[in-house]
């Protein structure tokens, strides 16, 4: 099952994938662009992984003082930064390097504490696509990556669907890619995760209790490039979803 949350005709609805777009629980079938897409679930604790693909780790290794051999590099984000499919993300004027990150998002389905690797997949409710933007101009070397880089309003995109775990045969064999204005700029496969999903659940639940609605953004492969105002950024994971986002400027937010 692929579930969504959308706003349509004056209300917020649970909805499901349909050949013509999306079907609300009340039966109405609508085109993809006829509804406003919300994140497919209300995220609680959001845990994001840095440097969790081999090639991306190499890409950034020169500026880092850690290696992939260390414990997983995890940081937290807040629900306030999250928007849904077909949303707008603000690129502040004057910045020089804002990049997307296409990531498989793993949604926790039940309380998980001290979970062994062998049992970990039983705690996964489902998957969605995340586009976790960063604005590197704001990077500071205290509690990296600082929230001004990674937790800005509109800069975490989730959706379109929450895909039931049972419907994903192997979450570690999923090709993923990013297209900027139709050109592929980033490609990878979840088989290259340095810490796979069971490893992440075992690691995290070993010191913090995870609960339903918590979500793990598993990291991004190599191939991040700067995006500009007006760009359409599509982050896509085969079998999970195709998440569309548009970069807009300060003027949309009355800041210009």
């Amino acid at each position: 099952m692929k579930r969504a949350r959308v706003a349509y005709a004056g209300a917020v609805h649970d909805a499901f994938a349909h050949a013509k777009g999306v079907q609300l629980v009340d039966g109405r079938v609508l085109a993809e662009d006829a509804v406003v897409w919300l994140p497919p679930f209300e995220p609680q604790t959001i845990i994001a992984l840095g440097l969790n693909y081999g090639e991306h780790a190499k890409e950034l290794a020169k500026e880092l003082t850690i290696s992939a051999k260390d414990e997983p590099l995890a940081f937290l984000k807040s629900p306030g930064a999250v928007i849904g499919h077909r949303g707008q993300t603000r690129r502040p004027s004057g910045v020089t390097y804002m990049h997307y990150e296409c990531e498989l998002a793993v949604v926790i389905g039940r309380t998980a504490k001290n979970i062994a690797r062998a049992d970990a997949m039983g705690y996964v409710a489902g998957y969605t696509v995340a586009n976790d933007y960063a604005i590197r101009d704001y990077l500071e070397n205290y509690y990296r990556p600082n929230l001004r880089v990674k937790n800005r309003d509109t800069c975490t995109v989730l959706g379109p669907w929450l895909v039931d775990a049972a419907d994903v045969a192997d979450p570690h064999q999923l090709p993923l890619r990013t297209l900027v204005n139709g050109t592929v700029t980033q490609q990878g496969n979840t088989r290259d995760l340095l810490n796979d999903i069971p490893a992440l659940i075992e690691y995290l639940s070993g010191f913090m209790t995870l609960s339903a609605g918590d979500v793990i953004l598993t990291g991004t492969p190599e191939g991040v490039v700067n995006v500009n105002t007006g760009d359409e950024v599509v982050t896509e994971i085969d079998g999970i979803g195709r998440l569309v986002n548009t970069i807009v400027g300060d003027e949309w937010f009355g800041r210009a």
């Binding site: 003082t65 414990e71 937290l76 704001y138 070397n141 929230l147 309003d153 010191f207 913090m208």
Partner: protein, 264 residues
């Protein structure tokens, strides 16, 4: 309003449910409610729930002495420059516990660092607020004990150090803004087993409350029920399992946290 305390889901919960349950909007204590809360506490004892329901953000290095303690290190690797914008972090929901709830000291940590700080509780959605108007977005204030496993580096500390279950006691209640005329002039006292271990003042903040709200909401909206910790003073004391930590902030409250060993 009062009910007898009991156990639910293995956690002690308060008799004073109207106060301690997370609310749709943060519940601010007025003078009368504070009186009743004190009465309920005295009568009933253990275990409040956290008084807020939103995201809890911490602010790093916002005390003049805390930053000064780093000295010239701010210019050396890995920091390479002093902080410019507010440096924030998040205490996730598994860390939140209320007044008088026991916190487990993990086996791998002989002692915990006690991060005593004022918590600013947001009352209405704060996006791009000006410094002059910022306090109008505040519902009230509370006491937060931002617990950590001691770690030397601010560069990229592991979540293990700050995000263990129970590592963010908060409460006992949210005290209404009108009862705290000047949040930048409060004394924060930490006592361990009844002995004063640290005393600091919120007038030593690099970004006072209104300035901090303005600088944070420039890029990140704060929502009703969110909590912004203003920052921990230099020389945070440490405590071990078996000890009782109390943080008092004048006019805001006294937050009590027993530290206990891992149960087997």
């Amino acid at each position: 309003m009062f009910r007898r305390e009991g156990r639910r889901g293995g956690h002690l919960f308060s008799v004073f449910e109207a106060l301690a349950q997370p609310q749709d909007r943060p519940l601010a204590v007025d003078a009368a409610a504070a009186f009743w809360a004190a009465l309920a506490e005295a009568a009933a004892g253990p275990g409040f729930l956290p008084p807020t329901h939103g995201t809890v953000y911490g602010t790093l290095l916002n005390h003049a002495e805390t930053l000064a303690a780093l000295g010239n290190a701010v210019n050396a690797a890995p920091y390479k420059a002093p902080p410019r914008a507010p440096v924030l972090y998040i205490k996730p929901r598994n860390t939140l516990v209320g007044h008088r709830q026991a916190v487990v000291v993990p086996d791998d940590a002989p002692e915990l660092e006690i991060g005593a700080t004022l918590g600013v509780v947001i009352g209405s959605t704060a996006c791009r607020v000006g410094e002059a108007q910022a306090l109008a977005f505040v519902a009230g204030y509370t006491v937060v004990n931002d617990l950590s496993i001691p770690h030397a580096s601010y560069y990229r500390p592991s979540l293990r150090n700050k995000c263990r279950d129970g590592f963010c006691p908060i409460g006992p209640a949210v005290v209404a803004r009108k009862l705290v005329p000047d949040p930048d002039s409060l004394t924060v006292t930490v006592a361990i087993d009844g002995k004063v271990a640290q005393r600091s003042r919120t007038d030593r903040l690099i970004r006072p409350v209104a300035r901090l709200l303005a600088d944070v909401t420039e890029f990140m909206t704060l929502y009703p029920g969110d909590v912004l910790m203003v920052g921990v003073a230099a020389g945070a004391p440490r405590a071990r399992a078996g000890q009782r930590v109390e943080i008092s902030i004048g006019g805001v409250g006294r937050l009590e946290t027993p530290l206990v060993k891992v149960q087997r």
